[in-house]
């Protein structure tokens, strides 16, 4: 075991005890294996607390879905399955690269380790980019948590006052600028260590915008259609209240922000309807106290708002976990460039890997539970 001897040579003996131990072995541990096993037990216990923490949100989901399955079916139409599936694939791939980087650290392939960690960070950034597209699109439509919900099926795309996507992108733009500045600085000063760190990190920061692009391409293809279908099929009660079929066509035209003529005409018709009041009784309509057979409109603030509260809570906390994971991965990447890891000391890579797989595990359940409800 040449690594042990090499490591033992640079062992620090400045804390006054007579036995030699490698620099990576804390002196309250007898062997690297004992050190590794202690850390492993600790990270498993931490993951248990994470599971229990997420179970609270899964419980809220389960209760609400048990009581109001129709709300979930209605609201799930607004989640873009394509984007969710792509994100699942990206996250699974990042899990693969993470597991692979654990392997690299165990067999001391340092270049491979740096590459695999960088790939994992890139995937995490792409995931966040796609998520940013999903979130900003829903915020513009007013599909927000219960208190803020303002979605109006008659006008699904109101002229937005704020460009949410820009505000989400802003911190990542600053990040990208900072990392690129670091890269240029390290190029100028010819500091190879900083260069080796800054290169993969600037690629990773740029990957956020790859995710944005990917999300935009998929979103423009599918979601408009999806939400139109939902708006026409699921919200029939509300729309048929507005009027007949050519009004729906008109409303689609009005959805286009540029078409101000159609928009004003639609507004006029809606006002007319409003003044006519909700007491319009058509021929053949059965009016009685029993309103059991009415197909309920689930897209109200009180009902859909609760679904979107759960949606944002679960995916948002998951996204925060991704952000924290990126932080740990950057730390690992810098240590990997420093060549800290060897077959006796790969604990940190393994522990962060376990955390990363747990985040993946939670997404594996979130994706079908939120996106794939009929």
């Amino acid at each position: 075991m040449s690594t042990i001897e090499a490591a033992a040579e640079n062992a620090h003996d400045d804390h006054g005890h007579d036995h030699d131990h490698p620099s990576f072995l804390a002196h309250h541990f007898d062997t690297p294996e004992q050190q590794f096993d202690s850390g492993k037990l600790g990270i498993w216990l931490f993951l248990v607390t994470e599971i229990l923490f997420f179970s609270g949100m899964f419980c809220a989901y389960a209760i609400f879905r048990m009581l109001r399955p129709d709300v979930f079916e209605g609201c799930s139409q607004f989640l873009n399955t394509k984007l969710g599936a792509i994100n699942t694939g990206v996250l699974l791939f990042s899990s693969l690269t993470m597991a692979w980087s654990v392997r690299c650290s165990q067999v001391q392939q340092n270049r491979g380790l740096v590459g695999m960690l960088a790939a994992t960070i890139c995937c995490a950034m792409i995931f966040l980019g796609v998520k940013a597209i999903e979130y900003s699109h829903k915020w513009e439509m007013g599909l927000l948590p219960a208190g803020l919900y303002f979605y109006d099926p008659a006008n699904p795309h109101p002229e937005s006052h704020t460009n949410y996507l820009f505000y989400i992108c802003l911190p990542f733009m600053i990040l990208l600028g900072g990392v690129v500045a670091w890269l240029i600085a390290s190029l100028v000063t010819r500091n190879t260590f900083h260069l080796k760190c800054a290169m993969p990190l600037s690629v990773a920061a740029a990957c956020f915008f790859v995710g944005i692009g990917l999300g935009m391409v998929l979103e423009s293809g599918d979601s408009e259609h999806g939400s139109e279908v939902a708006a026409t099929a699921e919200l029939e009660t509300e729309i048929s209240l507005i009027a007949n079929s050519d009004d729906i066509a008109l409303e689609r035209l009005a959805g286009d922000a540029a078409n101000s003529g159609a928009k004003s005409e639609l507004n006029a018709r809606m006002q007319q309807l409003e003044t006519a009041g909700s007491s319009i009784v058509q021929d053949g309509e059965e009016i009685s106290g029993a309103i059991v057979s009415v197909e309920e409109n689930v897209m109200t603030q009180r009902k859909a708002g609760v679904f979107f509260s759960i949606y944002y809570c679960m995916t948002g906390v998951h996204a925060i976990h991704i952000l924290v994971g990126i932080g740990f991965l950057v730390w690992l990447l810098i240590r990997a460039v420093r060549e800290d890891f060897n077959p006796q000391y790969f604990g940190p890579v393994d522990y962060v890997g376990l955390y990363w797989h747990l985040v993946d595990l939670i997404w594996i359940y979130l994706f079908p539970l939120l996106y794939l409800i009929r």
Partner: protein, 133 residues
């Protein structure tokens, strides 16, 4: 260095997972994701949630066993981690059964509009406007 049978003074304990195994687990996961997405387009009624959860659990088991090295980990760690799912099950079962027996819904349901007076006035307005279409 990947010989992991004899632990020599606690210095040889790394267990690298072979690359082909990692890749095959990854492709199995991708395949199962495609299956989950595909099944959403078939109507299988109330079995839906069951099928989805079974597929997700198979995926979770694959991730845990191979990506998280659980198949090669110490049994004590495995017991600790898996026991958390037992507690989650207890939590869900008790809360849901309680909720099913006590609260009819978060929202006042339509049939109860007459009984629940105060809170559901805007629901009444909403429903009456819906009936009058």
């Amino acid at each position: 260095m990947s010989a992991h049978g004899e632990s020599k003074d606690g210095y040889d304990f790394a267990h690298p997972i072979p690359v082909p195994m990692l890749l095959s687990v990854f492709f199995a996961l991708v395949f199962l994701t495609i299956v989950t997405v595909a099944q959403a387009s078939f109507d299988i009624g109330s079995l839906d949630i069951l099928v989805v959860m079974v597929i997700a659990t198979i995926k979770a088991a694959l991730v845990m066993a191979f990506f998280m090295h659980m198949a090669y980990d110490k049994p004590f760690n495995v017991i600790i981690f898996l026991s958390s799912f037992g507690f989650v099950a207890l939590f869900l079962i008790f809360t849901m059964s309680d909720s099913a027996q006590t609260s009819p819904a978060f929202e006042p349901v339509v049939e109860e509009v007459m009984e629940t007076d105060q809170e559901s006035t805007n629901v009444i307005a909403e429903e009456s406007s819906a009936t009058s279409e």
